[in-house]
């Protein structure tokens, strides 16, 4: 999943970014409001973490501009302003969540996961596609009762397809939401990792849950053809 982090306080920004990368997110971070707004307008994100007291352009202004563009990306505000008025103001401006500093990192991560699940209309952290079960909280993949060992990149690719199960997902989407290094790489790497995934998931002659749709990308479905 791809996340935009806009926070001007360097220790916070660096540590949150590191934590989210370790959680498997692709993270774009910015220390100023104008740069953060540029990121939000020009890249697709699964979730945005936004501080309010930013230099140049404040967080609420960024949020309002994003919503004016009919962008429904989930936004979590992180702020030191803990008053009811400020929290209500943030939520009324279009935020999906409001976390008051200082906060526990584990809570930030859990809330972020919840926002991503909501974005893809998933009620629980356990995703089921046919006989495939993906526990996003434990990062565990089981098919037909047997646990499958995946590399970090394979897991995040499968997780992304699972969140969007039933929809064709283009290579570009996969590239932008799963791969950190979008400069200098190519979407051929996507095809390679799809191949790896298919091999591990289909082991033992199981039906291929990943379908290729020409011109549209890949589709994870419980109804294999």
């Amino acid at each position: 999943m791809r996340c935009l982090l806009v926070e001007d306080y360097t220790p916070l920004r660096k540590n949150i970014e590191e934590c989210l990368v370790e959680e498997g997110y692709v993270v774009d971070s910015s220390a100023s409001g104008d740069e953060g707004l540029w990121f939000a307008k020009n890249h697709p994100y699964d979730v945005i973490i936004l501080d309010i007291m930013l230099p140049e352009v404040d967080g609420l202004t960024i949020l309002r501009k994003i919503r004016e563009l009919q962008d429904h990306t989930p936004v979590m505000i992180v702020s030191a302003r803990d008053g009811v008025t400020q929290r209500v103001e943030g939520l009324n401006a279009g935020a999906d969540d409001y976390l008051v500093k200082p906060f526990a990192l584990i809570e930030l991560v859990a809330r972020l996961h919840a926002l991503v699940r909501r974005r893809y209309d998933r009620g629980t952290p356990v995703l089921n596609v046919g006989d495939l079960t993906i526990d996003c909280a434990l990062k565990k993949v089981v098919r037909g009762g047997k646990e499958i060992s995946l590399t970090r990149r394979e897991y995040h690719l499968l997780e992304y397809l699972a969140f969007r199960a039933g929809q064709p997902v283009s290579r570009t989407d996969i590239w932008e939401h799963v791969y950190e290094d979008q400069a200098g790489g190519s979407s051929n790497a996507v095809d390679v990792y799809i191949g790896y995934l298919r091999k591990k998931l289909n082991e033992g002659g199981k039906p291929d849950l990943i379908q290729t749709r020409r011109g549209h990308g890949y589709l994870l479905t419980e109804s294999p053809t």
Partner: protein, 479 residues
């Protein structure tokens, strides 16, 4: 505490003034009326006395009082009251029928000079009377007849006195009526004035009640608009209401600034705490090597030290503002401290590739001031200039010792500032967007601290825009 009432003062004051005026006016009216009536009576009495005097005729053989004829003559309407004649030669007295058994007092003055007097009639009533000493009328026929008998008639041998009196009871009655009428009119006038004062003051002061209600509504709201001044408010009070609105606006602005300070303070204190928490949580989130852990702990310590600086600055500002920090004056060499501060700032100047232009005179005389506070002010001003200047820009520092005061100026690039909002730069936690270091070591307290320290030293710091993109801070201190 009881407050004076405009209405009560108006009514009391107007009542007293009008009452005095009415009393004086009524007095003069009464006296004029009394005088007129009295004069009328006296005139009538004099006329009567004159007519009656002429009715005493000296004939050849006797003195004849022809007042009966006078009473029946065309001029009889001019004879009023009662009268009595005295023949001073014979002592005989003749009186008007109206007098009855009563007698008038005998009084007179010089010959043909009427004398007026207040008398009491025999019936006990007061009267005005005139007494006239006169000689009887003698006609030529009577003189001729007397001459025939060898007598010479001399009127002066037959002095007569006529006293004519007129009751003044009706006058008194009329004057009493007048007094009563004037009194009632005065009371009515006073009551009418009080009633109109009450009505007009109630009508005029009603908008004040409306203004009070508007003020109460205003006080209940968050971020209220200006208080609405009722259109019907008296013009004498619009100035006061306007001044009150201005004062309220100042209070609202102060409240807004206090609120902003609280929000900023919350942000500037909570954010580093969040930084420490996240840094340490992230350190423990996954297994890490000892070097990695050590670096993370060091990072958390760095944030802690930065917070300590912020808290120390905040506490110092609070002490300076509260007058809890004392200053001592000793001779201070300004140029020495300037050089020291600039040398300490060299790493940051070089890091940001800044060009420094110094305008320091060769000899800068010592000034008598608190060395600690002076250093704090200079450090903050220079630090502020360096941190808010973009990379590769130019900063100027000048000292002007030509006047009786010590003047130090910093000039550096700026953006996004307007002349109207420059004073806000001295408020705590105002950190510009171009601050080179946003890691929390400088929480926007430097200028606030510098200003308080300058004030404590008896000086001040001014700020102004010398162009659209350059700002100047000027420190002025007494020598």
């Amino acid at each position: 505490m009881k407050h004076p009432s405009i209405r009560f003062r108006l009514m009391l004051g107007t009542g007293i003034i009008v009452a005095v005026l009415l009393f004086v006016a009524n007095f003069f009216i009464y006296r004029a009326f009394e005088r007129t009536l009295t004069e009328e009576i006296e005139s009538q009495l004099l006329q009567s006395a004159s007519l009656l005097a002429k009715s005493a005729e000296l004939e050849a053989n006797s003195l004849d009082y022809e007042w009966k004829d006078a009473m029946n003559s065309p001029g009889s309407a001019d004879i009023t009251g009662v009268f009595q004649f005295w023949d001073m030669r014979s002592g005989r007295t003749t009186k008007s029928p109206d007098l009855g058994d009563g007698e008038l007092p005998l009084f007179y003055g010089k010959l043909n000079v009427p004398v007026l007097r207040e008398i009491t009639l025999s019936n006990g009533r007061k009267a005005r009377a005139v007494g006239l000493l006169h000689h009887p009328f003698v006609d030529v026929i009577a003189i001729a007849e007397a001459a025939q008998t060898g007598r010479v008639l001399h009127p002066e041998d037959f002095p007569q006195v006529v006293v004519c009196a007129r009751e003044t009871q009706s006058l008194t009655h009329r004057l009493n009526e007048l007094r009563s009428l004037l009194t009632r009119a005065s009371i009515g006038t006073l009551l009418a004035i009080w009633a109109s004062i009450f009505a007009i003051s109630t009508w005029s002061l009603h908008p004040i009640r409306e203004l009070s209600e508007n003020l109460l509504e205003h006080s209940k709201k968050e971020n209220p608009p200006q208080v609405e001044i009722p259109h019907a408010l008296p013009s004498e009070l619009t100035g006061l209401a306007g001044a009150f609105n201005t004062a309220l606006n100042h209070v609202e602005k102060s409240r807004a600034r206090e609120k902003e300070f609280t929000l900023h303070a919350a942000h500037e204190l909570r954010t580093p705490v969040a930084g420490i928490l996240i840094t340490l949580e992230q350190a423990l989130y996954r297994p890490r090597g000892s070097l990695d852990l050590s670096n993370r702990i060091e990072e958390a310590l760095k944030i802690t030290r930065s917070m300590r600086l912020t808290l120390n600055s905040l506490m110092r500002i609070a002490r300076l503002r509260g007058g809890l920090e004392a200053s001592s004056k000793t001779p201070v060499e300004p140029k020495t401290i300037l050089r020291e501060v600039l040398e300490a700032a060299i790493p940051l100047i070089e890091k940001n590739h800044l060009t420094i232009h110094e305008g320091f005179p060769e000899d800068v005389p010592a000034i008598s001031t608190d060395p600690g506070l002076f250093r704090a002010v200079i450090s903050n001003l220079i630090d502020n200039s360096i941190r808010h200047s973009p990379i590769h820009s130019t900063i100027e520092f000048h000292v002007d010792d030509s006047s009786e005061r010590f003047v130090f100026m910093t000039i550096n690039p700026c953006s996004g500032l307007s002349a109207e909002n420059l004073d806000r730069l001295f408020e705590p936690f105002q950190r510009g967007s171009k601050a080179a270091d946003n890691e929390g070591a400088h929480a926007g307290l430097g200028l606030s601290l510098a200003k308080e320290a300058a004030l404590l030293m008896g000086g001040r710091i001014d700020v102004n825009l010398i162009s659209d993109d350059r700002i100047r801070f000027t420190l002025t201190l007494p020598r």
